[in-house]
């Protein structure tokens, strides 16, 4: 097990003038589960591959357990890429399938059996060890693939979108298993996904990347409650945060003729910065229906999820707002209703040009 440090690490793709990963700095603690998340082209996979030795570290450094990995071949880094090698061999037992990499490394039969049995116990595969893989379910096969990496007892697990080629049901099942397994083993893990739900449910901390640059590295709660910029605010959360650029008035922000009130200290910050407009963010659950005051909107769509409903609306000025409400009292399509900020609801203010958080 080991801590991992990215120190201003950069990767330049050959023939490109842009950095695939631009001065990435991350301190990952020993035993931590860190998720790298971002849209396509964000550099998340490249950042993981730099750690695994599959991409060069062109500038800066990456350390594993305090040792600089620049120039160290992949196989000498004591990491395991989980799930990449899925192939199962039909004539060999599950135990032989799991322990084969150890055999190639010259580990004795006794030692192999011991490590395979330990891994099987953790993966709940003990009773299948002497069976052939054909008898396994899809989920069990996934666990054998995990077992392959576990028996090697690496310092670090690297997982690059490991669930992307599973069907929806198996994806949720395997997601839970990976998170539970990592907690039991305590092996430092770096996990890449484009799916923010996966990131938020699995990671101790999540690093959000965009265009090769780190946007924020924080716990899921902090990312959700205090996004560092408008990009993170819009990327994390489902449905996404309402984010609109609005004119600033003396007591709040204007949506058409209505005003959404802001706190005094928020108004002070806006005035200190001399902003006449601001990117205003509010999560759907922080907006509520009201009989008077607030903003008048027209309902475009109601998404009833049973336990809650999301009301998609637009105001007269064209501003679109999504609000969460009780499905029993949800308005109907084309109704005109009023929305206001929940009395304790947080608002997020971002600089309209830089996107940086203001409040």
């Amino acid at each position: 097990m080991a801590a991992i440090t990215y120190k201003n690490a950069s990767c330049i793709y050959e023939g490109s003038d842009k950095l695939a990963v631009d001065s990435l700095s991350l301190d990952i603690q020993d035993g931590e589960f860190v998720v790298l998340v971002g849209p396509s082209g964000s550099g998340k996979s490249t950042a993981l591959r730099m750690l695994a030795g599959l991409e060069d570290i062109d500038e800066g450094a990456i350390e594993i357990g305090g040792k600089d990995m620049t120039g160290v071949p992949s196989k000498d880094r004591d990491i395991a890429m989980v799930f990449q090698n899925y192939a199962l061999y039909p004539n060999k037992t599950v135990a032989e399938n799991m322990g084969f990499a150890l055999k190639l490394r010259g580990v004795s039969a006794d030692e192999r059996r011991k490590k395979v049995e330990e891994a099987a116990k953790i993966l709940d595969l003990t009773e299948h060890l002497d069976r052939k893989p054909a008898k396994l379910s899809g989920g069990q096969r996934q666990r054998v693939a995990m077992g392959r990496a576990i028996v090697r007892e690496p310092q670090v697990f690297c997982m690059d979108e490991p669930l992307s080629n599973l069907d929806a049901k198996l994806r949720v099942q395997t997601r839970t298993q990976i998170a539970a397994l990592q907690r039991r083993l305590g092996t430092t893990t770096v996990y890449v996904t484009h799916d923010q739900v996966e990131a938020m449910t699995m990671g101790d901390r999540v690093a959000v990347l965009r265009f090769g640059k780190l946007q924020q590295f924080a716990s899921p709660n902090e990312l959700y409650d205090k996004p560092a910029n408008a990009f993170v605010a819009g990327f994390i959360g489902s449905p996404a945060m309402n984010l609109v650029t609005l004119p600033v008035a003396s007591d709040g922000v204007k949506i058409g003729d209505s005003t959404l009130e802001l706190e005094r200290d928020q108004l002070t910050k806006l005035s200190d910065l001399g902003l006449s407009e601001v990117t205003f963010g509010i999560r759907p659950e922080q907006l509520e229906l009201t009989d008077s005051g607030g903003v008048e909107v027209v309902v475009d769509l109601v998404e009833d999820l049973g336990s809650e409903a999301y009301v998609y609306t637009h105001a007269g000025s064209g501003v679109e707002l999504v609000a969460r409400c009780n499905p029993r009292t949800a308005p109907k399509l084309a109704d005109t209703v009023r929305l206001r900020r929940h009395p304790e609801g947080a608002v997020h203010l971002f600089h309209p040009e830089t996107g940086e958080r203001i409040n």
Binding site: S16, N85, Y89
Partner: protein
């Protein structure tokens, strides 16, 4: 119902008429013309369909992965790399899934099928298999393709003269980059060695040859050396004195012997020793002999076949010159060789092997058997004796001709094999 969304490259009626509105798991005979082709265990459900006299592989996958694999396979096709050809992508939003359609590679086999019919322990044939794997990985890597899951099970093999040609059939984990890093290549190579070892060991278990395990593992480890030797030959940048520049020819010849055409040779003075030159060779396709044969005869064959056929043509030309008492030019010799030698004997050879494989491969097998028997006898045994040996299948067990295998049966079947 939400209709499926199609991207088909050959929108034939048979393919369009398949029940795309149903999940692949529900495609059954006799409604759908499925064909029984044994494939190893795979991550996703794969079936084979016969439509418009063509065999198609259809694979059920999550849409994102299917679209990615389709795009990668198209890139591989554009680069002319040996890989299965993508035929279409059908999104089934109703079931949140997608079906990737590829054209089945005719005249190609799973390694299990090639080896199951041979007596156990065939080091020479295994060598052919490992050379093919290493050759394929080098070809992919020098075009910037990271495979990610290189294994015998994800490869099909076709016969090409005395060698095997390997074809990538699963690109789920593959990526195309402008250039691969050393780390990416090393990682792919590690995956290949482990998977090849496991694939061979697994087959030995099936053949009840578990005692061979250590030998097979050692051979699989050697795949790394096969890969590296070929990679180094293609990427070497030898240096020598300006006066020794004729040595370029040797470098080019070595590459040609390996089957690679040379696009360009650059000779540049070495920065810290300007009297020295560094050679950099831009290597083209691995079809050097195939192109030469095509220029001479119009025949379009594999590189391995072309190497053998050009040898035969050269021997014929030499005999012709002796007979005529003067030089016979290449194109005249080639024309006569096709008429007098290749055409009649490839038909005979194909007949005696029961029309297995292609006529041209049958002729290559005939040449190989003739050569092996002559070596053993210490003199040329002649074509008819070789034909007789081929007909009775009394040929050396490690000859490439032993790999001749019947075409895929296309009879419909009733139950899908679940491995």
């Amino acid at each position: 119902m939400q209709a499926p969304e199609f991207r088909l490259r050959t929108p034939t009626p048979g393919l369009l008429g398949l029940p795309w509105d149903r999940p692949l798991s529900e495609w059954t005979v006799p409604d759908v013309p499925l064909r029984d082709i044994a494939v190893g265990p795979s991550r996703h459900l794969v079936k084979f369909v016969d439509a418009d006299d063509t065999l198609w592989a259809v694979k059920d996958m999550p849409p994102r992965v299917a679209a990615k694999e389709y795009d990668v396979l198209r890139r591989l096709e554009e680069m002319g790399l040996p890989a299965v050809r993508p035929a279409g992508l059908v999104l089934q939003p109703e079931f949140e899934t997608a079906i990737l359609v590829t054209r089945y590679l005719e005249g190609s086999w799973q390694y299990r099928r090639l080896f199951m019919r041979l007596p156990p322990d065939q080091p020479k044939h295994r060598e052919r298999l490992l050379d093919a794997m290493a050759g394929l990985l080098v070809e992919l890597h020098r075009h910037g393709v990271f495979w990610g899951d290189c294994s015998l099970a994800n490869t099909l093999f076709s016969r090409d003269g005395q060698i095997l040609q390997a074809w990538l059939v699963d690109a789920e984990t593959s990526e195309v980059h402008p250039v691969l890093s050393r780390g990416q290549r090393a990682h792919d190579l590690d995956i290949m060695v482990e998977n090849v070892a496991m694939g061979m060991v697994d087959l030995a278990e099936r053949l009840e040859q578990s005692a061979l395990e250590d030998v097979l593992i050692a051979e699989a480890e050697q795949t790394r050396n096969r890969y590296e030797r070929l990679w180094d030959a293609l990427h070497a940048e030898p240096m020598f004195d300006f006066a020794d520049r004729y040595r370029v020819e040797g470098t080019v010849r070595r590459l040609n012997e390996l089957g690679f055409a040379v696009d360009e040779v650059a000779l540049q003075p070495v920065a810290d020793n300007p009297s020295q030159l560094k050679i950099r060779v831009a290597v083209g396709d691995r079809r050097y002999h195939a192109q030469r044969l095509q220029e001479l005869t119009g025949l379009d064959v594999g590189e391995g076949q072309a190497q053998i056929l050009l040898g035969d043509l050269q021997a014929y030309q030499a005999a012709l010159c002796r007979e005529a008492g003067h030089d016979v030019d290449d194109s005249t010799a080639a024309r006569l060789w096709v008429i007098e030698v290749l055409t009649p004997y490839e038909r005979l050879a194909h007949d005696v092997v029961g029309n297995k494989g292609t006529p041209i491969q049958a002729y290559c097998d005939l040449l190989e058997v003739r050569w092996l028997l002559s070596e053993k006898a210490g003199h040329d045994v002649g074509t008819n004796k070789a034909l007789a040996a081929l007909a009775r299948d009394v040929i050396p067990i490690d000859s490439a001709a032993k790999l001749a295998i019947a075409e895929v049966p296309t009879a419909p079947f009733t139950v899908l094999r679940d491995e």
